[in-house]
């Protein structure tokens, strides 16, 4: 009850439709946000706040409800239940006004493949009724920002996947949005292209733009996100900074021991005392512990001789798999 009251107060700090968002306040406030398609509930009563100037991540396996959530926040998809305020406005009542102030990078590129890079940017700017001359200036700046100056006259169809992605991001920035929503921005890109994108996103954050990003790359989330939530089956199953999540849902270190495919399960029962948690995978046994080296030594003391062993720090991936399970989601 008290929690609901506190949230109400947060909401009420936002002025009504078309009002100025509070500096340093929240850019997105979702309470009991729900999306259903017929009987299927894609997003099931989720609550979250995105603060101005932060990078906020949504992690989750395919089908967890990330994209449905993004589409609601972008005012592309009406909410089925709950409340959603974006940039201080109600998402249902002020869709066009909200979309005028946010940039969307959809999961699938929606570029016009038959037009040039420059024309794609220019025309998109004109959707926002930005005056011609102003759009032209912004297009030149964004071509540089996206490393696409030399490709400006090329048809989009001829670009690589990484270039198209950069163009999509540049396009989302043409209206100088306060909030940019990126739905799996780096899926399918090679490492060079991903690192370039991360760099650009980091620059945006430094300029004070708030970012919401969905991904299933854990390294991406650890690199970029100030705070994130893990979604699974339409619900938020954990939230916090990457470090907080690792502390709350995993141990400091993980020791990975390989005993051979047939042996792993057999030795696992002897290892349960050595770690806070033991997980048996087909190819290896994972010991979740504060001190991985100590656990490996202790295993040797028990007379166990793994074929290979590796000690590493816990990562967001461990948290993710712990929370959402290892089985494939289809």
């Amino acid at each position: 009850m008290q929690r609901a009251g506190a949230r109400q107060e947060e909401l009420s700090r936002h002025p009504g439709p078309a009002g100025e968002p509070a500096r340093g306040g929240e850019v997105v406030v979702a309470r009991g946000l729900t999306k259903s398609f017929g009987d299927f509930v894609a997003v099931d009563h989720v609550d979250f706040l995105v603060r101005r100037g932060e990078v906020f991540g949504f992690l989750g396996p395919n089908g967890a409800g990330k994209t449905s959530t993004m589409r609601m926040v972008s005012c592309l998809s009406p909410v089925s239940g709950g409340e959603l305020s974006v940039l201080g406005m109600d998402s249902g009542a002020s869709g066009p006004a909200i979309r005028a102030r946010l940039g969307l990078v959809p999961q699938e590129d929606t570029l016009d493949l038959e037009l040039s890079v420059r024309d794609n940017l220019y025309l998109y700017g004109r959707y926002f009724d930005i005056p011609r001359r102003e759009v032209r200036d912004r297009v030149e700046r964004l071509l540089e920002f996206a490393h696409l100056v030399e490709k400006a006259e090329e048809e989009v169809d001829t670009l690589s996947g990484g270039m198209k992605r950069r163009l999509t991001i540049a396009r989302a920035l043409i209206s100088e949005p306060e909030l940019v929503i990126l739905d799996e921005p780096t899926t399918g890109l090679d490492p060079q292209a991903r690192h370039l994108l991360w760099d650009r996103l980091y620059r945006l954050k430094q300029e004070g733009v708030s970012l919401i990003i969905t991904t299933h790359y854990m390294d991406e989330a650890e690199q970029l996100c100030d705070r994130l939530v893990v979604m699974d089956k339409g619900k938020i199953v954990a939230s916090g900074s990457p470090r907080q999540l690792i502390e709350a849902h995993s141990t400091r270190e993980v020791a990975e021991l390989r005993f051979g495919v047939d042996e792993n399960a057999a030795v696992a029962s002897k290892l349960t005392e050595l770690a806070e948690r033991v997980e048996v995978l087909p190819d290896r046994v994972l010991l979740y512990t504060e001190d991985g080296d100590e656990a490996v030594q202790a295993a040797h003391c028990l007379g166990l001789r793994p074929e290979a062993s590796l000690v590493r720090r816990s990562s967001l991936e461990d948290v993710f798999l712990r929370l959402t399970g290892r089985s494939l989601v289809e």
Partner: protein, 274 residues
């Protein structure tokens, strides 16, 4: 560079349909030469073939039988020309609302890109139809010019046939747009063309007066939209002052456009707002 909080806020209170319209117009710059050429060539080819070939035969036949009144007292090509103008407008309106709409919805996904901006579904539908009106208007103007050069526009009232052509094109474009937006793929589009557009093209009084048809088919023909457009344009091109009948023809087309518009907005919303 500043990519931070908004500098100049875009004006979001201009007519919404202009935004998608500008995009369609810009895209057209890539293909306008081809469409202008075919818009001129198409009527020229028809007029030459029908005028030199079929037209001669028909005229001779009617004169021999002292029945020139059956074509309203004009030669075959003068009879045909306004019908062809409006039937072509129907085809342009229909074509612009089939593959280009499917492309925007599904193949290029340009509609999805548009809707991520302040553009709303209603703006998109209106912008699309405004663009169709422009395309049909442009092509019809060229068509009418060719007819005038060939001496087939008998009356100055014929200029008004341009409006009839645009109205007819839109009256078809709106429901076809609605239909395309209900389709998952383009399989039904050629069927719509073959079973819808082609029979209308042939049996709505374009090539011959529908009085040539058996009685029950005349009733069917009178119920079809193209008949009303063709008849209206013909009376204008041949210099008949509009009468009550003509208002009825126009009203039919306006109602069809209105119903189509409502359906198009609905099917676009269902398709795009999920």
């Amino acid at each position: 560079m500043t990519l931070g909080p908004v500098g100049a806020r875009p004006a979001i209170f201009r007519p919404g349909w202009l935004r998608p319209y500008r995009y369609f117009a810009f895209r057209y710059k890539r293909t306008w030469r081809g469409t202008v050429t075919s818009s001129i060539l198409y009527p020229v080819l028809y007029l030459v073939a029908m005028g030199l070939g079929l037209g001669h035969l028909v005229n001779e036949h009617l004169q021999a039988a002292h029945q020139t009144g059956r074509l309203g007292g004009v030669g075959y090509v003068q009879f045909l020309a306004p019908g062809l103008l409006v039937a072509s407008a129907m085809q342009w309106g229909t074509n612009e609302s089939m593959y280009p709409v499917m492309g925007g919805l599904k193949w290029l996904k340009t509609y999805h890109a548009l809707l991520a901006t302040p553009v709303e579904v209603r703006d998109l539908v209106h912008g699309h139809l405004a663009w169709v009106a422009t395309r049909v208007g442009g092509a019809s103007a060229l068509f009418l010019t060719v007819l005038a050069i060939f001496g087939d526009v008998v009356s100055p009232l014929g200029v008004l046939a341009l409006l009839v052509a645009v109205l007819t094109g839109l009256a078809f474009a709106a429901p076809v747009t609605a239909f395309t937006a209900t389709q998952e793929n383009d399989a039904a589009l050629p069927v719509l063309y073959r079973l819808g557009t082609v029979p209308l093209f042939l049996f709505s009084g374009t090539f011959f007066p529908i009085s040539q048809l058996p009685g029950w088919l005349q009733v069917v023909a009178r119920a079809t939209p193209l008949y009303h457009g063709v008849t209206l344009a013909r009376s204008l091109v041949l210099g008949r002052v509009p009468v009550v009948d003509d208002l009825g023809h126009a009203a039919y087309l306006f109602v069809m456009l209105g119903v189509g518009l409502v359906l198009a907005r609905r099917s676009f919303s269902r398709r795009l707002i999920v």
